[in-house]
């Protein structure tokens, strides 16, 4: 009980202390977007007969005709009331866009992280156990390969092989085959929504669309995870308590999994947290290649068009997610190693 309340207190404190940072991010992005060369009004006033009036019209519509400090105050006021503005690129409110696209990104990232962890931890452990052997070298080779090949290359390669040549993967056009009807919206996560609706045909379709992009993303992050697992495992295998456990004649499985691995998990968790946040925003290339309707490609399109509201909304979202992920990692620390939460 006391452990739970300490964790909760820690989490609460962490959350409160991240609020100023969030505010800073908000103001900074706002100013940065205005400093960038590129006037969204001119860009969007690109009809064949667009003149000065049209540019002015769009400027007014976006509130850009007002002085910057006033714009900032209005923007903060809007955010306070839950209005993130409207995207010119899609013509929709940014909040609605992010709401419909975030689950797509999250589903993909979770799946990729799951695949990456399931691959990386056993690989890292195996490499640490047989340090210097051929297994270690193979793992090193796989990691190097994963990091070296940019995601859009591996993505295009996978599409070429599994869709174009072999024809066993579905066409890489988003989250679900276009001829499959969507499940009723519950969480936005298609795998969950299809399961809730009991539509297993649809579930299969969604899962098969997810496989290639998730593998592409996983491939890229296996390396840091496997390397950190290996390093942490080496440290904990060489430590006194493992030697003691071994000398007591405990079964190797118990020594490795219960004692060594559990102690080695802390750094892996930290890295997994960072990897997760990075993947969510940085995997714009995977989203583009697989036409995945996620938040990262949305933000990139908006950035190219100097469309302020969506970029600001995206950065705010990413900052918030970062805070939440950090919190989660903190809580997980306590579970992985009870000593951490006793501060």
């Amino acid at each position: 009980m006391s452990q739970l309340s300490t964790t909760a207190k820690r989490a609460g404190w962490r959350f409160a202390s991240s609020l100023p940072a969030l505010f800073g991010v908000l103001v900074f992005t706002f100013l940065l977007m205005r400093v960038l060369p590129g006037d969204p009004a001119v860009f969007f006033a690109s009809g064949p007969s667009a003149g000065k009036e049209e540019i002015e019209m769009i400027r007014q519509q976006m509130g850009l005709d007002k002085p910057v400090p006033e714009q900032l105050v209005r923007y903060l006021g809007d955010i306070g009331s839950g209005n993130l503005g409207r995207s010119l690129t899609t013509g929709q409110p940014v909040l609605a866009d992010l709401k419909s696209r975030l689950p797509a990104s999250l589903e993909l990232t979770f799946m990729a992280l799951l695949i990456a962890l399931l691959t990386a931890i056993p690989l890292g452990v195996a490499a640490a156990l047989r340090q210097g052997s051929w297994i270690d070298h193979v793992v090193r080779f796989i990691c190097a390969l994963g990091v070296c090949v940019p995601t859009f290359v591996s993505g295009l390669l996978l599409i070429y092989a599994f869709y174009y040549l072999l024809g066993i993967a579905p066409d890489p056009t988003g989250r679900v085959d276009i001829f499959t009807s969507q499940p009723p919206l519950v969480t936005g996560f298609l795998l969950i929504d299809f399961a809730v609706a009991g539509d297993w045909e649809g579930w299969r379709a969604a899962a098969s669309q997810l496989v290639l992009p998730a593998f592409t993303m996983a491939l890229f992050v296996v390396a840091p995870l496997a390397r950190i697992t290996r390093a942490a495992m080496l440290a904990s295998l060489g430590s006194d308590f493992v030697r003691t456990a071994r000398s007591l004649g405990l079964p190797p499985r118990k020594v490795i999994v219960t004692y060594a691995l559990r102690n080695a998990l802390l750094p892996v968790l930290t890295i997994a947290g960072i990897v997760f946040s990075t993947m969510l925003g940085a995997n714009v290339l995977v989203e583009k290649v697989f036409s995945w309707p996620g938040v990262a490609s949305y933000a990139l399109d908006a950035l190219l068009a100097s469309d302020y509201a969506p970029v600001q909304g995206f950065v705010l979202l990413m900052a918030s997610i970062f805070v939440v992920v950090n919190l989660t990692v903190d809580v997980l620390y306590g579970i992985a190693d009870p000593r951490v939460s006793v501060e």
Partner: protein, 535 residues
């Protein structure tokens, strides 16, 4: 051991989920893939994308649409030949000042309300009075005020013009003057928004051939056929029952999809992919030079060193036209160089652009550069936007290499699209490449919109009294022979001043399943799905 188990797991997961794509019989569905997105359902909203224009012509009807003609064996839209759409017929008074439309008696909006002259009046009033895109376009056809539109009776509608304007009818066939269901739209209007801009942006109130079934901006749009629509050529509804438009950002993926037969039609492939698919011969590739567009190399004629005519001419003679055409477009388009003009006079004036008497001549270029006072050359930047990088990048590299031979050092600048538009609008780019498109590609329209005044589209910032005067005179010239004479002077003057160098008209490569029939290149460079059918 663990590795093996993980690998097995991975393979099992892949095999269990990755089943072949659903092969439905979908002959009555057309699946279209594109790299761009639709951002509004009303084409009049400032900021509308080209794809939004394309969509609105499916969901709405106009009074008239453009007919089609053959150009080098390919069907293209015809500016001078109209097809009635909501109008059953029209008459132009002998003095050319009054156009009377007879509306179809049987046309109905999607909600069943009949289309009347009141709807036409409301829609055209909206296009010229509200804060919409139509305003700027329609004034090029002398349509500027609501007073010009009169309801005679429920099915007769009259347009009066201050001067006989050749482009008045054509302007009624572009995307802005689509006809809205005025009763429905008015019921959604508010005091601040009397023209229901906000509501129509997200909803449709039309009578068009297709009804929107689902619309996810930036992802998919699904259209269902309107069975009561009879404005097609055969008085029948459109051929396809369903149209799916999907946004696929990656061009290589779009090529894969159409090659595999999963997509039926695509018009925005990379030139290499289109050439490749054409060679394989499995698909139908219709490659139409976009005869209403021009890609050019432009200079700011007001800033040194490009304010000197000799400098502009020197560059015009130093460009490696053939190499650029091959590297950028793989030869897919119509070149605008390499012509022979007798005595430096334009051979024709009825049309613009026409091929220019230019070819690579480095000796001449060097001579001109020396005459301009730059025997040693100079340094400058050459800019293009990221969106065009596919064609502009190889072109810029060749241009840089060739200009270096006459002493001009070029630094290549690749700018984000919004930044490039901003700089062009502020007239701050000295030397760059751009493409222009005119919906109504008549000779005077090009000159009036792209060579006059301090506007954004006057890329070269040209300010020439003669061009201004002749172009304005040509606009209202009823006699076609005199019009062509003016055009000849304009074309000759354009070459003499060399405000910018026309390079080519890129092709639009429409790649489609071999069973698709009826494709026509349209003014808005989108597919008119109402024309298409499956054999």
């Amino acid at each position: 051991m663990t590795i093996v188990r993980t690998a097995c797991l991975a393979v099992a997961l892949l095999a269990s989920t990755a089943l072949p794509a659903l092969t439905q019989t979908r002959a009555e569905t057309l699946r279209h893939v594109t790299g761009a997105a639709i951002n509004t359902l009303d084409p009049n909203i400032p900021g509308s994308t080209r794809e939004a224009f394309g969509l609105s012509l499916l969901t709405y009807d106009r009074l008239l649409s453009f007919g089609k003609k053959q150009l080098d064996g390919k069907w293209v839209f015809d500016l001078d030949n109209f097809k009635p759409e909501l109008a059953e017929s029209y008459t132009v008074s002998p003095d050319g000042l009054k156009i009377t439309f007879k509306l179809r008696q049987d046309a109905k909006f999607h909600d069943g309300t009949p289309v009347t002259a009141d709807d036409v009046k409301w829609s055209l009033d909206r296009a010229v009075t509200a804060n919409v895109l139509g305003k700027g376009q329609l004034l090029t056809g002398s349509l500027t005020s609501a007073d010009q539109f009169k309801v005679v009776d429920a099915h007769t509608f009259e347009v009066t013009l201050p001067k006989p304007d050749k482009l008045a009818l054509a302007n009624l066939a572009v995307v802005y003057p689509v006809i809205f269901n005025s009763k429905l739209a008015k019921s959604k209007a508010t005091a601040e928004d009397p023209w229901a801009l906000a509501w129509l942006k997200e909803n449709t109130a039309g009578s068009g051939a297709y009804i929107i079934e689902s619309f996810k901006p930036g992802e998919t749009t699904i259209l269902r056929r309107n069975p009561d629509w009879n404005r097609g050529s055969a008085e029948k509804p459109a051929s396809f029952k369903r149209i799916i438009t999907q946004t696929i950002p990656e061009a290589a993926t779009r090529a894969n999809l159409v090659e595999k037969g999963d997509a039926d039609i695509v018009i925005d492939l990379q030139a290499t992919d289109a050439a490749d698919l054409e060679k394989k011969g499995k698909l139908k590739v219709i490659s139409t030079p976009q005869y209403n567009s021009i890609t050019f190399v432009s200079f700011n004629n007001q800033t040194p060193p490009f304010d000197k005519l000799e400098v502009r001419k020197a560059i015009a003679y130093a460009l490696p036209y053939d190499d650029m055409f091959k590297a950028a477009l793989f030869g897919r388009g119509a070149p605008l160089y390499g012509a022979n003009w007798t005595e430096g006079k334009a051979p024709t004036g009825a049309v613009f652009p026409i091929p220019q008497p230019l070819k690579t001549d480095l000796v001449e270029a060097k001579k001109l550069l020396t005459a301009a006072g730059f025997p040693e050359g100079f340094s400058t930047t050459f800019s293009f936007n990221v969106g065009q990088a596919g064609t502009a990048e190889p072109m810029a590299a060749l241009l840089k290499e060739s200009l270096a031979k006459i002493g001009i050092k070029v630094e290549i600048q690749k700018l984000p699209d919004a930044q490039m538009s901003t700089l062009i609008n502020e007239k701050k780019v000295p030397f760059f490449t751009e493409g222009i498109v005119a919906w109504l590609p008549s000779m005077d329209y090009f000159y009036r919109n792209f060579y006059i005044g301090p506007i954004r589209w006057n890329y070269s910032s040209l300010d020439d009294a003669k061009i201004t005067e002749w172009a304005q005179a040509a606009r209202f010239e009823p006699d076609m022979a005199k019009y062509a004479a003016l055009g000849k002077d304009l074309n000759t003057r354009h070459f003499e001043l060399m405000p910018q160098i026309p390079l080519w008209q890129p092709s639009q490569d429409a790649v489609m399943a071999s069973s698709i029939d009826g494709y026509v290149y349209q003014f808005h460079r989108q597919i008119d799905f109402r024309d298409l059918s499956r054999k």
